[in-house]
Amino acid sequence: MDATSVRANEKILTIITPLKDKPGALLPILHAVQDEFGYIPSAAISLIASALQQTSAEIHGVISFYRHFHTQKSGSYRVEICRAEACQSRGSRILESHAKQKLSIDYHQTTADRNITLDPVYCLGNCACGPNIRIGNDIIGQVNVDKFDRVVDELCTSKVQIQ
């Protein structure tokens, strides 16, 4: 095991330890791990399993049930587009196909530059102001095609600045 993965494992254990004795600890642990790494690294699964006295298969089973959990690293930004009815009635179908075309990817895929991962989401609870998208913890309302382009272009610019 190299130094980086040793450090990562230590980090994972510091996340698991204070949570593992909570009743029904698995979801809180998975959230905390994903908040830290942006996804659930495979090393975390066996560590979680042994902390909770479950099998890795059981932990996998739970992760795969929930749309929110990911086992692959995503792009720098996860862009989620609401597919639910209220947004559909305000033009989200057009937005969806525009987004896929602009980014040249389908849902559950990441752009070639690893900047943006596109995902569907079913309702963000902002149904009077759709179409809605979510980027990280920010929800953005009244997103027409032009606004989507503006927002995404800003994400691309900020990536360049960070680099």
Binding site: C127, I139, Q142
Partner: protein, 535 residues
């Protein structure tokens, strides 16, 4: 003089650049050396006016909206921060709306559960108390368990999550169970498209929910509560946790609530993007750290719920209503509404409307009146064609059905559901067969997979509808679809598979009417069926 300015920090406001509006106001105030106090309240639920900026005056709050970041310079030029009722410059600003209380959208409502929404700082305990908060708890502290449950039963409160089960009966069952450990679980997995009442409650008045949960704990003898919140609500998560911490700091939660030596502990748990976890047994599985597979009933969660213990599972609005019912008495609550639909329901006007938002009214108004009075037409300017009421498992209603009164029984009578009160308006560009297909797709996406009619029926359903849309053997496929829907209704374990046919069949019915209108010579499905002597 210090001016107090209110800018909400709820999801809707933030989704429309609310944070930038607040920042610009602070910046302008600093530059013009004006002393302002910025309060980040919750939204009043008039979402078409968000970001709604309010200024406190001695006659009440004066509102401006919808405010964009670039409007702040002109608002300061009009001296809006010092607006009083008679300041002409502020009144002449195009975003001036007058006294907030007088905005017709708000004035026409009957707000019981949302009386404080948008008025108070949502996490400030003193502000909550100053607006009648914790009165219900104080009352409950003096009552026996049974008396509290009796009060809830007498109010006629029915579960606001969608199933409308009488809350009093549920509580009585849990109270009657002899167990060391019982739980109160708040179902805040508000996944229905077109609904946002739970979110608004949690973001605008979370202490009311917390108060309701403490009362529920006292009533049934539970000392631990969980709020199961969907992960799509990050802002509600932040605000709820702030409110929770403040309630702990003031001993409204903990092991010695209000110095009574009674205990009630509360924790927010995040879901992870599974619609099915809004079904109560799936939610309990998820809280236990498992896949959200639906459980067979019985046993009822009230008898064997979370970790096998007696558990009250109630929706956010049901628990919030409890605080109000205890404070003002069961009778006041029961006096609102009609028949067996007592109290008020916060309707959520969403989708293709100009004036979307939360409208709390007593049961009994017709859908048509609600839309005429509040929605103010479609954003697209086209005529309304179809309204889906009750979320993704609710019916698509055609204009001839809009006269139905909004109460549980009247909706049930036309094969529709009121559910959680979500109302999604579509204009005449809607392709109803496409919507029907989407309902099946949604079921494919969200089925927990435990029972076959839901897991496989939904996949076959969306295939069949796609064939119908392509004009492929339409008559036979329509019959096949009806048959499939019947199987899903009768054989599914929970509402996911059992109710998906409601939007599917209602949308397909309307679609067939549309087709017949376009081509009068096409025989109806029933006629074709007859001429072929059945299939």
């Amino acid at each position: 003089m210090t001016s107090t300015i209110y800018i909400p920090r709820d999801t809707t406001t933030l989704s429309l650049d609310g944070e930038q509006v607040a920042a610009n106001i602070s910046k302008n105030a600093a530059e013009s050396i004006q002393d302002i106090r910025l309060v980040r309240n919750g939204s009043r639920g008039v979402f078409w006016l968000e970001p709604l900026v309010e200024v406190a005056t001695d006659k009440g709050r004066i509102a401006f909206g919808p405010v964009k970041p670039e409007d702040i310079d002109s608002l300061f030029a009009a001296d809006f921060a010092n607006a009083c009722f008679d300041t002409l410059s502020a009144q002449q600003h195009p975003l001036y709306l007058g006294l907030t209380e007088e905005i017709p959208y708000l004035k026409k409502q009957q707000r019981l559960s949302f009386a404080r929404a948008g008025i108070i700082d949502p996490t400030d305990i003193d502000d909550y108390i100053a607006h009648d908060g914790f009165k219900g708890l104080a009352k409950a502290m003096q009552l026996s368990n049974q008396k509290i449950v009796d009060e809830i039963s007498a109010s006629g409160l029915r579960g606001r999550g969608g199933a409308a089960f009488p809350t009093g009966i549920k509580w009585q069952t849990v109270l009657n169970c002899p167990a060391q450990q019982k739980y109160i679980v708040c179902n805040a997995d508000e996944g229905d498209s077109g609904t946002f009442a739970d979110r608004l409650m949690m973001e605008a008045d979370p202490l009311m929910l917390i108060e309701g949960m403490i009362i529920a704990g006292l009533a049934v003898g539970a000392n631990q509560g969980y709020i199961y919140l969907r992960s799509e609500y990050p802002q509600a998560h932040i605000i709820l946790n702030e409110a929770l911490n403040n309630a702990y700091a003031r001993n409204f939660l903990g092991n010695n609530i209000c110095g009574s030596s009674k205990a009630f502990n509360l924790e927010v748990r995040l879901g992870a993007g599974a619609y099915i976890c809004g079904e109560e047994t799936s939610l309990l599985e998820s809280l236990e750290g498992k896949r959200g597979l639906v459980r067979s009933k019985p046993p009822l969660p009230a008898i064997e719920g979370l970790f096998g213990q007696p558990t009250v599972v109630n929706n956010v609005l049901s628990l919030a209503a409890v605080a109000h019912i205890l404070a003002d008495g069961a009778k006041v609550y029961a006096d609102f509404g009609v028949g067996r639909s007592k109290g008020t329901l916060p309707f959520q006007i969403a989708g293709n409307v100009n004036c979307g938002g939360l409208v709390e009214l007593a049961f009994g108004t017709t859908l048509k009146d609600l839309i005429d009075d509040f929605a103010q037409g479609t954003v697209t300017g086209r005529p309304m064609q179809s309204i889906q009421v009750g979320g993704p498992l609710g019916a698509y209603l055609t204009p001839d059905q809009w006269d139905t009164p909004l109460d549980y029984e009247a909706f049930s009578a036309i094969g529709a559901v009121l559910g959680h009160g979500g109302i999604v308006v579509f204009d005449d560009s809607v392709d109803l067969a496409q919507q029907a297909s989407f309902s099946m797709e949604f079921c494919v996406e969200e089925s927990c997979g435990k029972c076959t009619p839901c897991r496989i029926g939904s996949v076959r359903g969306s295939e069949v509808i796609e064939k119908i849309r392509r004009g492929d053997n339409v008559t036979d496929n329509l019959i096949l679809l009806d048959d499939l829907c019947e199987t899903m209704i009768d054989m599914s374990l929970c509402a996911m598979g059992g109710m998906t046919p409601i939007p599917v069949q209602s949308a397909m019915r309307a679609y067939r009417v549309q087709l017949n209108d376009q081509n009068l010579s096409t025989p109806t499905h029933a006629e074709q069926h007859q001429s072929k002597g059945g299939v």
